[in-house]
């Protein structure tokens, strides 16, 4: 039976692409409810393939996928599309309607909502991502950051409980990244579960409260972000240490297993060291 505390629970999942590439090879992962989960792994690890299983775009060839306690199958797939919103890596793949407004209305209309409800949701979603002024513009004429926000609005308008973003940073400038980061934080505060596939260890360490590392279609490790300070995980996951961790590790400022991985933790440690130093002098 599925565990109710988990938003997503995957058991022994296999997926082979037509053509024979084995993308997932017995993958088992869990995503806690209302977590900010970072899905990490090098190129080709199977992140995108995994994500496609979360709302039934791909159905398990072997193994099981549970979302919010419900098994993903041909029967539940339609319902799950309203519970799990996918934001694709490339917004150009997602935005297809003549205007931003119409694109954001696409999902709600497919859900069969009433006119008033659709209009309300679209307006809210566009405002949430700060794209309301863009509503009458054709998506193909927007900047990359604007496209990305419009694409996110298209998913938010469906009001899913789980929001999955595939590599949301690709091509975004620092300000754009920060804007998306803020949007995600606000969504999390509203009780959404957020899953974000990325290569960016620093962001994962700083933002996530749950980390999943996969490689070659298999799980390397899952748990608290402190995992990212563990040599075994970083090595087997084909990752690198978060910068903060590396700083303290290489400067040999710390021993043992309590290496910091967020900025705040680093600052705290430095402050302590300074205070100790002052006291000794």
């Amino acid at each position: 039976m599925p565990y109710e505390k988990y938003a997503v629970e995957i058991k022994n999942l296999f997926y082979t692409y037509p053509g024979g590439v084995e993308a997932l090879k017995g993958l088992s992962v869990r995503v806690p409810l209302n977590s900010k989960t970072a899905l990490l792994g090098p190129n080709g690890a199977g992140k995108t393939t995994l994500i496609f299983h979360l709302n039934g775009i791909f159905l398990p060839q072997k193994g099981e996928v549970y979302v919010l306690g419900q098994e993903v199958s041909r029967k539940t797939e339609k319902e799950l599309k309203t519970k799990v919103g996918l934001v694709f890596q490339d917004p150009d793949d997602q935005l297809f309607a003549p205007t931003v407004w119409e694109d954001a209305a696409f999902g709600p209309l497919n859900m069969g909502l009433k006119r008033d409800e659709v209009e309300k949701r679209v307006e809210e979603a566009l405002k949430q991502v700060g794209a309301y002024e863009l509503k009458d513009r054709p998506p193909y004429m927007l900047s990359y950051g604007e496209k990305k926000r419009a694409a996110i609005a298209g998913v938010l308008a469906m009001d899913p409980e789980i929001i999955v973003l595939d590599e949301p940073w690709a091509f975004l400038d620092p300000l754009g990244q920060e804007q998306i980061g803020d949007i995600l934080t606000r969504l999390h505060e509203k009780g959404k579960t957020i899953i974000l596939a990325t290569h960016d260890v620093d962001f994962a360490a700083q933002w996530a409260d749950w980390v999943i590392v996969i490689r070659d279609g298999m799980l390397v490790a899952e748990g608290e972000p402190s995992l990212l300070t563990e040599e075994g995980v970083v090595f087997r996951g084909g990752l690198r240490y978060p910068l903060i961790t590396r700083l303290f590790k290489e400067a040999k400022l710390m021993e043992g297993d309590k290496l910091p991985y967020t900025l705040d933790q680093g600052i705290e440690i430095i402050r302590k060291l300074l205070e100790e130093g002052l006291r000794q002098n």
Binding site: T82, L86, F88, D92, E102, N110, P138, Y140
Partner: protein, 258 residues
């Protein structure tokens, strides 16, 4: 993906109920294209241009689309005189091959050209003033089979995808110093262009697949829903009657009934 944004919205032709508009323009075309003489056809073209101008369809847009005609029209005017027998205007002799150009042929060429121009003009008025979503919705309301509409819709999207991909790829190649206009006879140019076209289809295919996946992910099941529901007013119908009547009048004029 590239859909044209509506221009000059606000003018009557943009506000005209799409279903009535399509029906009326259809009637107009069916009747006025029956005309076989030049004057009625010129009148017909004039009427559509007038409609476009009064409806503030962008003139530039109009000319740009009609300019396609010059190409086809040129062929019609050059070849028709030779294909249709009749009173000789001049003859071309290339060694053993000889051909006579006939006045009748020339006349037929002009008539065909004008019919083409009227059709294109009507199509332009419709496309520029309505926008694809509403056209498809209206056609659906007018009981055009859904399968046909879906196919047309995806063809349209595919076309835009194709041109977008092509633009990106050409830019990328230019960025690396490739000059497509140099000479088509140059082997390197030919090779590069043929690869470009091959890649174009693969890439468009791949992107089409991703766009489709993304649509599925937002609950798409093959059915399109829109919020715009049409409710034609008396004025919509009046305009429809007017345009249809103009088509019929041109038809009658051509047949000598007026």
């Amino acid at each position: 993906m590239g859909y044209k944004k509506k221009e000059g919205s606000g003018a009557f032709i943009f506000k005209w109920d799409p279903r009535v508009k399509i029906a009326a323009l259809f009637v107009y075309l069916v009747f006025s294209l029956q005309a076989e003489r030049i004057l009625p056809l010129l009148l017909s073209l004039g009427f559509v241009v007038l409609l476009a101008l009064l409806g503030r369809v962008s003139l530039w847009e109009f000319i740009r689309r009609l300019s396609l005609l010059i190409l086809f029209g040129g062929f019609l005017l050059i070849f028709y005189p030779f294909l249709v027998p009749g009173q000789e205007i001049f003859a071309v002799n290339l060694g053993p091959l000889g051909a006579d150009a006939s006045l009748e042929g020339f006349y037929r060429g002009v008539v065909l050209l004008l019919r083409l121009a009227v059709s294109l003009a009507v199509l332009t008025v419709l496309l520029v003033s309505t926008g694809p979503v509403n056209i498809f919705k209206a056609l659906e309301d007018l009981r055009v089979p859904g399968l046909f509409l879906r196919t047309a819709e995806f063809t349209l999207r595919y076309f835009y995808l194709c041109t977008d991909e092509l633009k990106t790829m050409i830019t990328a190649q230019k960025a690396r110093g490739f000059e497509p206009a140099k000479s088509l006879l140059n082997i390197f140019t030919m090779n590069t262009l043929s690869h470009l076209i091959g890649m174009l289809f693969l890439r468009t295919y791949k992107r089409g697949e991703r766009v489709y996946t993304a649509m599925l992910s937002r609950g798409y099941t093959g059915e399109f829903y829109t919020l715009s529901s049409f409710s034609p007013q008396i004025s919509d119908y009046l305009l429809g009657v007017l345009v249809s009547a103009a088509g019929i009048a041109i038809f009658l004029f051509d047949k000598g009934a007026v």
